[in-house]
Amino acid sequence: MASTTDDPVTRRDFIHVAATAFAGVGAAAMLWPLVDQMNPDATALSLASIEVDLSPIDTGQAITVMWRGKPIFIRNRTPEEVEAAKAVQMDELKDPVARILGETVQEPATDEALTKSGYEQWLVAVGICTHLGCIPKGQRIGDERGPFGGWFCPCHGSAYDTAGRIRLGPAPTNLEVPPYEFLSDTRIRIG
């Protein structure tokens, strides 16, 4: 520790910088737990999958089930509704991307991409308006379904078609499709 008069950096300066830096790093490290405790906890993350029996749902009917605390719309679409959904061209869509949860590859929002092959009459979607999180109307017979026959959000007027695609209003994206698979012709597992 040979300090000379023309070298202004002293041992004391070093201790100051080191001590302050350590205290700073320590404080910053403690900040993260305080931020991260707000994130969804283990119980919320435990992605419980649910099985749903589709046999009681007649053509034209729909049910709502809960998955991860969110409502899931399951609609048994009429042949006309399926045809209408298939006839839509991609350039008519406000959001041309199929919003499938857990899917990294972005596919066009065709009716085929949004349903399972061989089960085209079943549409399964997260029943939360992608605008600000209201539950759109259209699940019950007699509900307002909007100009595209799918769902209509009463909060700010977003209208979805029979494939859950946003067609009109402030919502930016299509309804999300949860990960699910058919266990049999009348039974699905979501999650």
Binding site: P40, P71, P154, P170, P172
Partner: protein
């Protein structure tokens, strides 16, 4: 106008205190002796009224927290229990709920007072900015408090407002959703959300109290503005001590305000609320028509006026952010709108715009309502960003009294064109 202290401790104890912790001196200088312009009108009583509102909210809120359970399974019931079984629970809750509305009613008048008389102009920029921060903290507190009721409107208000952040998904994919889930502590508004909102709702009023302390401190450095906008020059002829003159005047104003307050509490406690909030929160059913409390309606109208999700959110927050810049957007030489022959019409147009946005915020966003919402939203921003800077430059102010003394002691004849005197401040 930080005035010289005139406090003289008279007893042995107060002398002993004064040389150790001069709180008595501080209270004397700021609450009793502070030189206050003699020409203040009743619009200047809202500061005192707002202090009263904050006090009422904190006292009733502490009591409510003794009976409230922040758990989604019992939150709604604990409030009904409070209303029906706890002694005077109904009175305390209605006072708190109506108190929030009265608080906003008073703060809006206080803000428009500041806008009309140019109370944000130099040297009161920091004072004004602190006021906007208080307004922001008030909005956050009120929003969180409303959510605790855990009725349908509470639940869906939290859902819609927290979802505003999901608009950031269009900037960085997944960012908005990440923030929203971080706020919720889950994938939907849930028990964790309610608990953190309760914790913060209890914290923020004390943050507001701290900001109010700074607001008053800043006020007592620059001194009060007054209806003429002319600076206080001679405290002996132009000012009066705060006590008893303004304590009495503010006290009278608080009493009148208290009558209106009491009328709502006792005769129409639910008039300003929404019937749907007496239905317990149901995550599976959105009420047919979601509206915020009346004091948020203008901002809600701005949110809905913009056809894009992110754009609406930016406009809504921008409507508050623009307030921070008013001290620099206003180029006028004259403080008080009294002496501004052109600007005064635009001021009242702004008032009409805010009222209209409030009305439109409660209407469904369609047809004529949507068009009107867009026009008024546009004017709101035009007012601050274009009208304020431009009118300030092109307008020739009317003559105004040279001093406060002139305006109150009948010296109206000695007034001269403001342009000449303006730079003497």
């Amino acid at each position: 106008m930080a005035h010289q202290s005139t406090y003289e401790p008279k007893t042995a104890f107060t002398r002993w205190m004064d040389s150790r912790l001069p709180v008595i001196r501080m209270a004397y200088d700021n609450l009793l002796d502070f030189p206050t312009p003699r020409n203040l009108n009743y619009m200047w009583t809202f500061g005192g009224i707002l202090a009263f509102c904050l006090f009422v909210q904190i006292v009733t809120g502490i009591v409510l927290a003794m009976h409230y359970a922040a758990d989604t399974s019992v939150a709604f019931d604990s409030i009904e229990h409070l209303m029906r079984n706890v002694n005077y629970g109904w009175l305390i809750r209605y006072t708190h709920a109506v108190g929030a509305s009265m608080f906003f009613f008073a703060v809006y008048l206080h803000i428009f007072r500041g806008l009309y008389y140019g109370s944000y102009k130099p040297p009161r920029e920091i004072l004004w900015i602190l006021g906007v921060l208080i307004f922001l903290a008030m909005m956050a507190t009120a929003f969180m408090g409303y959510s605790l009721v855990w009725g349908q409107m509470s639940f869906w208000a939290v859902t819609v407002i927290t979802n505003l952040f999901s608009s950031l998904d269009s900037v960085v994919s997944g960012l908005g959703t990440g923030i929203v889930q971080w706020i919720w502590g889950g994938f939907a508004v849930n028990d964790a959300t309610l608990n953190r909102l309760f914790s913060l709702h209890y914290l923020l009023p004390f943050v507001i109290a701290g900001l109010v302390g700074l607001h008053i401190w800043a006020l007592h450095v620059t001194g009060n503005n007054n209806p003429t906008g002319v600076p206080l020059r001679d405290p002996k002829t132009e000012a009066l001590p705060f006590h008893p003159y303004f304590t009495a005047k503010d006290g009278f104003a608080i009493a009148v305000f208290g009558l209106i307050f009491a009328y709502f509490v006792f005769y129409m406690p639910n008039y300003l609320g929404h019937a749907d909030n007496y239905v317990e929160a149901n995550p599976l059913q959105t009420p047919p028509h979601i509206v915020p409390e009346w004091y948020f309606l203008p901002f809600y109208a701005i949110l809905r006026a913009i056809p894009s999700k992110l754009g609406g959110v930016i406009a809504m927050f921008g409507a508050i952010v623009v307030l921070f810049f008013i001290p620099w957007l206003d180029t006028a030489r004259e403080r008080s709108t009294r002496y501004r022959p052109i600007y005064k019409y635009f001021f009242w147009l702004l008032v009409v715009t805010c009222l209209a946005l409030g009305y439109l915020g409660a209407k469904p966003p369609e047809g004529g309502y949507l068009v009107a919402g867009r026009i008024f939203t546009a004017y709101y921003f035009i007012h601050f960003l274009i009208v304020m800077p431009v009118i300030g430059i092109i307008e020739t102010p009317k003559s105004r009294p040279q001093s406060i003394a002139d305006s109150i002691l009948g010296g109206g004849n000695s007034s001269q064109p403001a342009v000449a005197a303006a730079e003497k401040r």
